[in-house]
Amino acid sequence: MTTRTSESRTPEPAARPRAVGADRERADARDKVLGRAPYAFEHPMERPCYAHAVLSSVPRGRITAVDTEAARQEEGVITVLTYENAERLASTDDAELAILQGPEVAFRGQIVGAVIAETPEAAREAASLVRFTYAEEPHASELKPGESELYRPETANGGAGTDSELGDLDAAMEAARADPGAVALDETYRTAMTHCNPMEPHATIAVWQGDELTLYDSSQSVHGHRDTLAEVFGLDRARVHMICPYVGGGFGSKGEPHAHSVLAALAAREVSGRPVKLALTRQQMFTLVGYRTPTYQRVRLAAGADGRLTGIGMDAVEQTSRIKEFAEQSANPTRTMYAAPHRKTTHRLAALDVPVPSWMRAPGECPGMFGPEVAMDELAERLGLDPVEVRVRNDAPTDPETGKPFSSRNLVACLREGARRFGWQDRDPRPAVRREGRWLIGTGVASSAYPVNRQPGSVAAVQYRDDGRYRVGIGAADLGTGAWTVLAQIAADALDVPLDQVDLRIGDTALPKATVAGGSSGTAMWGSAIVAAARKFRERHGHDPSPGDHAQAETPANPHAERFAMHAFGAQFVEVRVDADTGEVRVPRLLGVFAAGRIINPRTARSQLIGGMTMGLSMALHEETVTDPRYGLLVNHDLANYHITANADVHSIEAHSIDEDDPYVNPLGAKGIGEIGITGTAAAVVNAVRHATGVRVREVPVTLDKVLEGLRNGPPSRQ
């Protein structure tokens, strides 16, 4: 990856080689390789007990009888918890977390009990012996456009507006239909239900000491988790502690506490003072820690013969659970991507008897960049224009819905640079005309985008220690993303000291409060707090401090926040090979170019970007949670049946960054890179499959049967 970073935004003059912008290996790499970095379940405990969750086996209804006798007879079982004997929680406002409070069942796979035992094996075996009798009620567990009852949520996730409208899209579509040279495109696209599936399963250790609760949890936000758990148990926040130095991947599924954290704390109440260890099985993770809703996306584009859009629309239909709303903001990117005078976006939800959806990498943007970016490809094809050129022609000079200027917008530069690097200029636009042996070959492109999110409230502390180092503390989370590394780099430059004089501490509520590792905002928000704390430290204590000197500061408010629209942009180019006999899709080349402000560490940044692209490839070709609507069962609930892109599926993958100096986003000039890589990838793959085969698939994953069906209707000839 080539990264050119501007030095103009660094907070202090550089007296020595800067840490920020340097290629630094991960601070935690050695400990992880050696197994010394403890994950949540691994923290050593004195005499731990083990809890295993019991899940509902019906999708909707009431428990009418509970039989725990057989479970209690098992050797090593300490107790069995159900709604009949579990303590009442102080707050049941969050229905996802209000477990064991009553006999109602809201979805299949909901927590209805737990066994606490001396060993994990005994807990698991006894959990299989707990018997519930249910009065089942009619349920609906599958999103079916045209059948599911839809409603209009008050807002979409993250406070996004539910609907938006400018001009008259219907009229623009009508006018385009009437004009023989114009195109009115109206297609529906579908993305699958998907699960985050981090490698580290969700796990919690809970310990009560009197009225003090300590949790070792796998979390993207120790303070956020703590605040929620304190509320659920009616405790002062100061009485709840959470520790999470390392996270084995989260992707959003550890962004909020889920029901198992409450269960661990409830279980630990039963064993006065002994720690309780609870780990979810992979299968349990499918119903308990969130997922991305399936989406149906009606996309409308009206364009003249020159490819310029006169109208753009996106109507997203999604599911949420009946007990808790999560409105994936899939229409959001359509509000920002392209200029057009007539615009309309909507979000509609079906509330179903399904597990509670939640955050998954680039919520909204990831699914929302699929339909429209395939539609742009279809538009280019129908007009006989190059798909890069069509996107360039529709670049928005100002934010289309708000009229605000962009703090920086380099979509066109990404498209041009990507096209140059990929060799796009030699591309023959005709579909299904390239063949090497059994392989049909094609290329595709799509744009990427992700907003610059701000989360107020992070605080960092700097203290000079008698070992001559600066202890920098903030309750941030490293999900494997590199926070341990890049926050130390930021601190070193802000304090103007070598990296080894920074003693970073994160992942503990004993440290100053940090916002969630989410919305691609962590590095910028925590880093800005660290910069502010370092400045304050130097102001107070100068460059020759005494041991014990300290300072603390909060992420400063951004004075430019209301003036500008702030987004990162990118472009992804894909080559696919499709087996002409079987329809198998292989992706020999993935190339992304991103303009995401300043890159703090090119090594960890590259991991984030190619990781996002790989996850986008996985969405394109593999990932789909299958619902059996008869039982409300997520059938393929393990990693054998829920396919995630494997090493053999990824060949050449490149991520490049465009030099982008944005003085407005934050003092670091960094826009966030955790999520943009997953946006647009799936559309680029689908567009390349079309170019290779002539088959236009409007849903992901593009499994071979969908391609094969199209190929049978007219396989391209051999060359």
Partner: protein
Amino acid sequence: MKPFRYERAADAAGAVATVAAHPGAAFLGAGTNLVDHLKLGITSPDLLVDVSRLPMDQVEERADGGLRIGANVRNADLAAHPAVRTRYPVLSQALLSGASGQLRNLATTGGNLLQRTRCAYFQDPSSPCNKRDPGSGCAALEGWTRYHAVLGASSHCVAVHPSDMAVAMTALGAVVVTLGPDGERRVPLTEFHRLPGDAPHRDTVLRHGELITGVELPALPFATRSRYRKVRDRASYAFALVSVAVALDLEDDGRTVREARIALGGIAHKPWRAERAEAALRGLPATEESCRTAAEAETADAHPLRDNAFKVPLVHNTLVAVVRDLVGQGAPEAPGGLEGSR
């Protein structure tokens, strides 16, 4: 997981005697499938008799020019064995297309034959399944059937056998050697696995306490021209949607089929020997058209389910493609390498 006793067998006869005497006992090989089942609650034996260390781990030459593969030969070792690579490339390819490197280092030949279906409902103890819980019904029949059978299924079970190795061995005419309470017997692999009928809980014809000790591969000189093609949902570490194993014996003209051995995977409760297709090809030039006709003959009785109708054309296309490749590869070289003597 239910507590169980563990015993390490001293010899095969002792292992057989122990398991035969205990209705709740099971043999333990590498455990790559059984241990998952213990955790998931699919099966709960009260005694495991570990046979993985018994000295059944050699690949031996047979007098007729074939091979005898010990039941404990690891998948990775079998795939890499020079005699297998040169004389039965279809088997080496099938083994290498299965599981992952780590699993292949552990998994045994006998255990591979006995691995159970990955039907998602079978693996979910909260779902009805006649294979796991006889008489409880089949959730797959009208459920998610992307990975299920199109041939030979019944209204009691539509699961498929997951092995790649067994498909290649079925094409090669392998014979399973077992030791039971009544002594040794030899079962052709085509008769070893069962169709589900009304007793899908029985995957094979093995009796309780009967142990696989080895697999015999007959001499098949033309298998030097053989190939395994696995079609799946990702490039590695996925079970077959459809797989095709073919060994082709061509006349001197390099295109007329003297004999073909064909087996299909991913489409039935057992590795599917495609005898109709073999018969249809015999004596004909191996053209795109003749292969397609042969494949269509094999799937004439196919009964696709909700999600797997694509498997029928996929079998046709894949068989055509494999034969095309085999004919195109030219005359097979005489077996060479370290163990190439015949």
